[in-house]
């Protein structure tokens, strides 16, 4: 198989082809109670007059991607692959959105057009192809972010101008805008209310544990046990004591500390966030090279000056990595907190789960995933931006 | 033993070995010498097919190496590298026993072979056979590495800068070891190095490489006294060639039998270079020479170093 020069791309394109041919691209149902009938991508393709621009936006990049399989992966080809993959992704979205609008015009407002499995798989494969091309190019972070903009900006614009509004996912959003906003607020509230105490407690604990071995061993033992206990179990375990506490001290109940809701969720999430925070702070400080500290002492800096001007900046990258882990972890675990009444996007997810409504599930899952990825990328960028300064 | 005929190899379009032909004779200690990037490691790795040559023929014991499975070739050749590469999860004994076990030797024979090799490499067998690599010093690890390379009774021993990572004292000790093993076993050895002194002291045949081509090959004496071109001269050091030449010959070659001299005698096998150092340190111009049993053989004079006799 010597004529295949880019095996990763070949696998992705082949899988995409199988998905496009075998699975529905969209599903259309006359109302939200009835199961929809699938519409294959090919069917959309046949009707070129209906959406010429979107079809060309999808077809041309697709052809380029197929061609790139047989070409040697030079830098120029990789750039073309990246652009083709991102345009393909945008084209798919535009095609789906446009067709949904047309169907809505034909069938009326209560009809439901949802994104089918083929759409999601093709979107995933084109994102993977773009990622692979970007990695082969091995460019700096700034270029990667610009490249990500190629996808985010068009999709964001389409979202903002309402192009997607006839897809069932956005119809669910439209129906539940207030619930969605409330969930967003609650979710952010849970995450912040857990991270701040984790930092305020965790950082001093880490500093203390670095100085004293008799503290460090039991501390990490306890934190590790906490981390092992599944989130749902810890939430549940906190409910009974908090309920009893609220029953015997009525003042707390008035403050909002009850057996269910925010209180057990925030306490549990704070405890979970402690391990990454404490571990990364302690590790960051202990990897500051001893010769550097000795040199600073020799130059006459006080202990406090050494901490703020030498140790902290050098420990920052490791600390940020731990903060990143803690934040992403908390955003994800907060979804489970909905089970004990804390609200957040988890409420939407479980509602969809129990009703078998994929759109509702996605409405809850996609924002959480987007938040997690955004925070992850943000903190990674921050770490990388700080590092050159630290190494000077 | 090993024959290369018009062998070429290129990486990413750049030639690394360029139309190279070489014959390595049985029993020789061949040192492939060159600076970084000369292609010497590549040359060695083509011999046991760790790298495949692009064109030309490589013959091992008369047969084209591509007609064997790579593993079959490698089990007939020993291979020792700079980083040693001992398996951290295996004891010294298991490491050395690697190839014999691959060749499915019976257990007692393997055990005996390990003991034999550890003794050969001057490692206390009973003390060290159950130890693990991380418990050994760098020099001990490389001794185990060499023992492992010799374990399967290979027809050839390939060594890729084996002593480069060791401190100078250990390096010198192991160089003497390998020279001793070569004399004792008569194994064909091919050793790659960039260290000129190592090459001059160990080799019976030196192959000097530059940019993938053989500049000159021959005995150490030939390389020093009849350099083929300026590159060779410069490589071996223009200014101290004479001193290096002295290092290649022993006192026995310039002995004046029957004569006598005072002071502590020197051994007949001492190199002329070391003898010159003795002359300078003791500030004499005659040294008494003895043999292995301390019987007087004669003398050597300072002027004999110049070897002005017709």
């Amino acid at each position: 198989m010597h004529w295949v020069k880019n095996r990763v791309l070949a696998v992705l394109v082949l899988s995409g082809l199988v998905a496009a041919l075998g699975l529905p691209f969209l599903t259309h149902a006359p109302n939200r109670l009835v199961a929809g009938i699938g519409i294959a991508l090919v069917q959309l393709g046949k009707d070129t007059a209906a959406h010429p621009m979107e079809i060309w936006l999808t077809l041309l990049p697709a052809v380029l991607l197929v061609a790139a399989i047989f070409l040697r992966p030079t830098r120029a080809i990789q750039i073309i692959v990246y652009l083709a993959a991102t345009f393909f992704l945008t084209g798919l979205a535009a095609l789906a959105a446009h067709h949904a609008t047309q169907l809505a015009d034909q069938s009326g407002a209560i009809a439901r057009t949802s994104l089918g499995a083929a759409f999601w798989l093709l979107a995933a494969f084109s994102w993977l192809a773009a990622t692979d091309a970007m990695q082969r190019l091995a460019v700096r972070l700034l270029w990667r972010l610009l490249g990500a903009g190629f996808v985010i900006v068009p999709l964001g614009l389409m979202l903002a101008t309402g192009a997607f509004n006839d897809l069932s996912l956005l119809k669910e959003y439209a129906n539940r805008q207030d619930v969605f906003s409330a969930a967003l607020g609650q979710h952010l509230q849970i995450v912040l209310a857990s991270l701040l105490p984790a930092l305020l407690i965790g950082v001093p604990l880490a500093l203390a544990s670095n100085r004293s071995l008799s503290l460090r061993t039991p501390l990490f033992a306890v934190l590790n046990v906490i981390q092992t206990v599944p989130s749902i179990a810890l939430f549940a375990l906190l409910m009974a004591p908090l309920a009893l506490l609220a029953a015997s001290v009525p003042v707390l109940a008035q403050l909002g500390i009850k057996g269910i809701g925010l209180a057990p969720a925030v306490i549990a999430l704070t405890l979970y966030a402690l391990l990454p925070v404490v571990r990364s702070t302690a590790a960051g400080l202990s990897q500051v090279p001893q010769p550097v500290i000795e040199a600073a002492q020799g130059m006459g800096l006080t202990a406090r000056q050494i901490f703020w001007r030498v140790e902290l900046p050098l420990a920052l990258p490791v600390f940020l990595a731990g903060l990143r882990v803690a934040t992403v972890q908390t955003i994800g675990m907060a979804v489970v907190a909905a089970l004990i009444g804390a609200g957040g996007f988890g409420a939407i997810v479980f509602q969809g789960l129990l009703g078998g409504a994929l759109d509702l599930v996605l409405l809850g899952v996609l924002p959480v995933v987007a938040m997690a990825l955004a925070v992850d990328a943000l903190l990674k960028t921050l770490s990388l931006a700080l590092e050159p300064n630290v190494n000077d | 033993m090993i024959e290369l005929q018009h062998v070429c190899k290129a990486f990413n379009g750049l030639p690394v070995i360029d139309d190279l032909s070489l014959h390595i004779a049985r029993g020789e200690f061949t040192v492939i010498l060159g600076s970084s990037g000369s292609g010497k490691s590549t040359l060695l790795k083509m011999m046991n097919r760790l790298l495949e040559h692009d064109s030309g023929r490589i013959l091992f014991a008369g047969e084209e190496i591509r007609s064997f499975r790579p593993e079959a070739i490698r089990r007939r050749m020993g291979y020792a590298i700079q980083s040693v590469g001992l398996f951290p999860h295996w004891s010294v004994e298991k490491n050395i026993a690697t190839v014999p076990r691959l060749l499915k030797w019976p257990a007692e024979r393997v055990h005996a072979r390990v003991t034999e090799l550890m003794t050969l490499l001057q490692l206390d067998a009973e003390r060290y056979r159950k130890r693990y690599p991380h418990q050994l010093s760098g020099g001990q690890q490389q001794r185990v590495g060499v023992a492992r390379a010799l374990a399967g009774k290979p027809e050839v021993l390939l060594m890729d800068e084996p002593f480069g990572a060791l401190d100078p004292v250990t390096r010198a000790t192991l160089q003497l070891e390998i020279a001793r093993i070569h004399k004792a076993l008569g194994t064909t050895i091919v050793l790659v190095t960039h260290d000129i002194d190592e090459a001059l002291s160990l080799a019976t045949s030196i192959v000097l490489l530059d940019h993938g081509r053989i500049v000159q090959s021959g005995t150490p004496l030939q390389m020093l006294s009849n350099p083929a071109n300026d590159f060779v001269t410069d490589f071996f050091g223009r200014n101290d060639v004479g001193i290096k030449l002295l290092g290649l010959q022993s006192v026995a070659t310039r002995l004046r039998s029957g004569e006598h001299a005072g002071g502590e005698p020197v051994h007949a096998s001492l190199s002329l270079r070391d003898a010159m150092s003795m002359f300078l340190v003791r500030r004499v111009d005659r040294l008494a020479v003895v043999d292995g049993e301390c019987r007087a053989l004669g003398t050597i004079n300072f002027s004999d170093l110049l070897d002005l006799r017709p």
Binding site: N6, G332, G352 | -
Partner: protein, 252 residues
């Protein structure tokens, strides 16, 4: 070499070893929860049914372990297999992409994978098995890649030069040296799966999370507590068992 105390030979070592205690506590609670009825009745006097009795805790434990076992088994087979493939010459091209997918996949909450599986395959054990298998794949794959990468390159080169075939190198050099790291990844994967399986009770899988879910919807805090204790202990016992396994593996 491992530094492990000769655990189990002295009485004091036995007494301080947490694994048998935790295991004993778990088994006691599984089989003896009904005996604690008076305790729960005293703690929660307003409840008519202080002890969960709709399913036996043992049956729930077995079902929970079955779901985790099957999905983790799949995750280990496919994860280690894919990790080995990505580190072979034929699979090297796929490696950067696999590493990126595995890293970004773990920023998703595991619940999300479960949630998306349900509308697709329905309720019951099936979505749980699929979600746990897919999500559990990620840590195993990541640790296999890291473990094989951590093998000293000299050992690999020496093995090849001495005449070990690629298969022999994988089996006798690479995998044994990568094993501790791979095991750590399997440990992470299994612990996460235990938690996600508990949540899967919301969609009809029979696990130890069921008393928690039933208790939450029925405002029965006693049920919630019982389920939580069992899930927590199960996770802790499994983690300790893996730690023991790791120490035993290192000493071998």
């Amino acid at each position: 070499m491992s530094g492990a105390a000769p655990g189990g030979t002295t009485r004091r070592a036995w007494a301080r070893d947490p694994l048998p205690w935790a295991l004993a506590a778990l088994l006691l609670l599984i089989f003896g929860m009904a005996q604690l009825k008076p305790l729960f009745a005293a703690l929660f006097p307003e409840l008519q049914r202080p002890v969960y009795a709709q399913d036996s805790f043992w049956a729930l434990t077995v079902s929970h372990l079955k779901i985790v076992g099957l999905s983790s088994g799949f995750a280990v087979l496919v994860g280690v297999g894919a990790g080995i493939f990505a580190t072979r010459p034929s699979g090297r091209e796929f490696r950067p992409l696999i590493e990126t997918v595995v890293a970004s996949g773990q920023t998703f909450p595991p619940v999300a994978v479960l949630a998306v599986a349900v509308p697709v395959v329905g309720f019951g054990e099936a979505p749980a098995l699929i979600a746990l298998a897919l999500y559990g794949l990620l840590p195993v794959l990541q640790s296999t890649l890291a473990g094989i990468k951590s093998v000293p390159p000299g050992a690999n080169e020496a093995a090849e030069g001495l005449g070990l075939s690629p298969w022999q190198r994988l089996l006798h050099v690479e995998l044994p040296l990568a094993a501790p790291v791979i095991l750590a990844g399997v440990r992470t994967s299994v612990i996460i799966n235990i938690g996600t399986a508990a949540i899967a009770s919301t969609v009809g899988a029979k696990t130890l999370g069921l008393p928690i879910i039933v208790g939450l919807s029925g405002f029965n805090t006693a049920y919630v507590l019982q389920g939580a204790m069992l899930v927590g202990l199960l996770a802790v016992v499994t983690d300790l068992a893996f730690e023991r396994l790791g120490r035993w593996q290192a000493a071998v």
